[in-house]
Symmetry: C2
Subunit: 245 residues, 2 copies
DNA sequence: CAGTGGTCTAGACCACTGG
DNA sequence: CAGTGGTCTAGACCACTGG
């Protein structure tokens, strides 16, 4: 980092300077030198230490934040992030129970609870005509006050007419539905996505953060009960399964 | 975007300018105006259209690229990305067969095939003493020449002594292991991660891109055969399961 | 208040692609 | 060659946090 390099140029064959700074920070964390919650040097400090502009130091910190390695807070500083909890995959468990089983406190935020009309996707999933009335809820579930699941759910009003009258702060949709329309079948799809703006805001993470997105269609003996989209911040959740053959 | 705004300032209460540009691009894509493979305006064009500096236009394009919405190529331009394929979850299927089942061409790149010593994590997973000799392979699997899985695998040399002598361009590790040490049990963990630099390079995606990471420990009657880490680009892969109760 | 991160500018040089 | 995206600078103003 000592030789003079002209603007916008990188030494041939070497990595970009922001990448060198990222590597340095990762190395400190992996060696244990910088533990979780350790406050890493500020943008200005790194810019000085590595003889780069603040924008370049900033890029290193921003990318590591996007990658879940660091956490930034305006006015406070940048800190080393910490590891993750875990959930179940082959069962359809109630998130509140999962959290309680970990000995953590559970809470939620109800963002929407309304009747709406079925989009093409929702109508196909629930086996209803397009434009039919469906119930729609959006709830954020919190583990020790930290958002851990964004739940968007469409429910068949014929099978669960009382859905909108429930108090979901007391019992989650999963808990309620399991009681009134026992589960006989579930289709699940799992994928990784970058959070969009809506999800990012709800989960208090940056747009683009890697998230586990689970689509789940649940059926009871009477038909398809609901269609849910569950989004978990990648660094705050895992799914596990033990298979036997 | 017409009023003069001083440097570094945003109109109070409004979103940042890069966010406005992102929203505009998303709107074009969602309305169908810009289909997959459509070439979006260049950084300079957007900078001119929105009266911002190129760095600000660039930020909008970069973030959308990180989020899997766009694909960028130096010298060519920036293009609208397209939707995704899908795989299976409850079985342990051979990726080459999955790809063939979709009617696509399969190929792979063998990055490593070596003997090494077991780290703490690997020794625990395989039930060996720390520092024991283990076989290690790193292979990238391609679907129609597009990287779709980064497979890093540690194998127990006692149970599969011929592992390093195999030609994995002809039969994948999964295929070979299934033949010589039939599967009796598998532990699977699924999570979302942002790609690190190694994985990003191997999968030809940007560091930080959302990926599905699957940890899988496979056992046969004789013991734990191998411990694998499978990383899929989030926008190129899905896992599905149908559960019955 | 000084220090932090967040947004933004107007330039620069570079590697890479197609024609 | 002109046009594209990739890296980088040296400044600016801002909102926010703690003391």
């Amino acid at each position: 980092m000592s030789s003079q390099i002209p603007t916008g140029t990188t030494e041939p064959g070497s990595q970009p300077r922001y990448a060198a700074i990222k590597a340095h920070i990762r190395a400190q964390i992996e060696s244990g030198e910088w533990a979780a919650h350790f406050r890493v040097p500020s943008e200005n400090q790194l810019a000085h230490d590595f003889s780069v502009s603040r924008m370049t130091a900033r890029r290193a910190l921003s990318e590591l934040t996007d990658e879940g390695v660091l956490i930034r807070s305006q006015g406070l500083g940048t800190f080393v992030a910490e590891p993750v909890p875990a959930g179940s995959l082959l069962e359809v468990r109630n998130i509140a129970d999962e959290i309680a089983a970990r000995g953590h406190s559970y809470a939620n935020r109800i963002l929407k609870l309304e009747q709406t009309t079925a989009s093409t996707e929702v109508s196909v999933a629930l086996g209803l005509a397009e434009g039919s009335a469906v119930y729609h809820s959006v709830i954020v579930h919190l583990d020790n006050d930290l958002p851990i699941q964004f739940e968007e759910r469409y429910t068949n009003p014929t099978l669960v007419p009382e859905y909108l009258q429930q108090d979901f702060t007391a019992a989650t949709p999963n808990e309620y539905l399991t009681r009134v329309a026992p589960l006989t079948e579930a289709d699940t799809t799992v994928e990784a996505i970058g959070a969009d703006d809506t999800v990012g805001e709800a989960l208090e993470i940056k747009s683009g953060t890697a998230c586990l997105q689970i689509w789940r269609r649940t059926k009871s003996s009477a038909g398809t009960v609901s269609f849910a989209r569950l989004v978990h911040p990648g660094n705050r959740y895992r799914l596990g399964a033990q298979l036997r053959f």
